[in-house]
Symmetry: C2
Subunit: 261 residues, 2 copies
């Protein structure tokens, strides 16, 4: 095995760059150059302390930088590893097209199985509640809404947490209020009930997750979330659903097609 010096180099004591940044730079470069590959274990903190001749806090400082960048993840009792890039789920802009809605299964399940992954949906909760100010405004200020919460997992890993809100007068005592709304999902049910869907508006933000989101999505540090809010409009221009989705950003790429007009 190659010596640590040949992989990581040495510190430049004349540099005004902070030592822990130099160490982070050395590790980052080694990872970029493929000297450490996805899933590889980095040298232990003790080894880095010995190699660079610095204190352990300095090494930990460097590693925490890389962790914030999402480059590595540390596992208690095992070591620090180059973070593997998970398979990415691609969301196409036609994913709600009517032609994708006839299957007996949910779109998420069909698509995941086609990609060779094992899909799961859990923590399904369906209840009536008072909408937040934001949701209320988007739905035309209904007094109460039906909220459908669920979490999506791929191969056991949570990747997405979504809540659909529908005006209660529209959803109460319909299949939409059931845990499983049936083939084609709630959009198929809405259309059966005479709300022909016209278009969707989507708003996309990216930010760091809240502690609660870190828990439910089991996010490694250094992984942002994509926050997507979709509003569905029927042919009369009424907002019939708002879907608030938080996705692990390292598991998704969103694709849209725009006309040039």
């Amino acid at each position: 095995m190659p010596s640590l010096t040949s992989v990581l180099g040495v510190l430049d004591p004349t540099s005004d760059r902070a030592v822990f940044r130099q160490i982070a730079d050395a590790l980052r470069e080694a990872i970029d150059k493929g000297r450490f590959r996805e899933g590889d274990k980095l040298p232990s903190e003790t080894e880095l302390v010995d190699h660079f001749g610095v204190s352990r806090m300095t090494v930990r400082n460097a590693l925490s930088l890389l962790q914030q960048e999402g480059l590595v993840l540390s596992e208690h009792g095992k070591g620090v590893f180059v973070r593997p890039r998970p398979p990415v789920r691609r969301l196409a802009s036609d994913r709600f097209a009517r032609r994708h809605r006839d299957q007996g299964k949910a779109a998420f399940t069909v698509e995941a199985e086609a990609a060779g992954s094992r899909p799961e949906v859990d923590s399904l909760e369906v209840k009536e509640e008072r909408p937040s100010q934001d949701i209320s405004a988007r739905l035309g200020s209904p007094r109460k809404v039906l909220a459908r919460r669920r979490r999506y997992l791929l191969d056991g890993r949570p990747v997405e947490f979504a809540t659909s809100y529908l005006p209660l007068d529209l959803a109460r005592n319909t299949p939409i209020a059931q845990p499983n709304p049936g083939p084609g999902g709630i959009y198929a049910r809405l259309e059966e009930m005479g709300h022909r869907l016209d278009h969707f508006d989507e708003e996309i933000r990216a930010r760091m997750p809240s502690p609660a989101e870190v828990r439910t999505l089991q996010l490694a540090s250094g992984v942002p979330v994509i926050h997507l809010v979709r509003t569905a409009y029927d042919a009369e221009g009424r907002a019939v659903e708002v879907c608030d989705t938080v996705m692990a950003a390292d598991a998704y790429v969103l694709a849209y097609q725009l006309p040039a007009n």
Copy 2:
């Protein structure tokens, strides 16, 4: 002024939650409840040390947690502040519609001024180069491309860094190869040259910035980037441009409209 104890509470020594997490929780809660507002200065590290009766490293550990979450930002010599939410730029899905293209000014400038901000475009670089594998594949494998790089600023703050790539056979010796391509931008020039634009594909990812991106966008820690890659197609189905854009995620919300088909 209220006592620190009434604002932050005290530690629970019986809890198995790490002390620095308890401190972070206390500060987070105080911020959420509005006891510290945007731009407010948090108690100094020394004050927190005295209040909680812990060592400074523990306090710094707590603050660094909040910083990773994007909640606060620290300024050397001044203090730690609740991070102000910057004004957000909304990118609508019709932003490339032909009707927005007649102005003499660039779309970015018009839009920013309408929003009351002071727009700037800088570090404009136009050069011919060999495309990366990814860009090459998207453009139909041209041998060389014209690359147009620029950075956008709002009120002096960099918010976006973008590079447009065009096949060289299409762009060489045209206004597109000029630093300022003229009114309506390069899309207007492309259409004048007979490449009537048909549609755009956009791919969106979110991730933590690289160190280089932190520098050019002057990003605070805890701020992810949105990485957008747009491909423009003409009426013959040829990819005529790829635009690779990295945006400060706290400055943008992307909006799309999808037909329901």
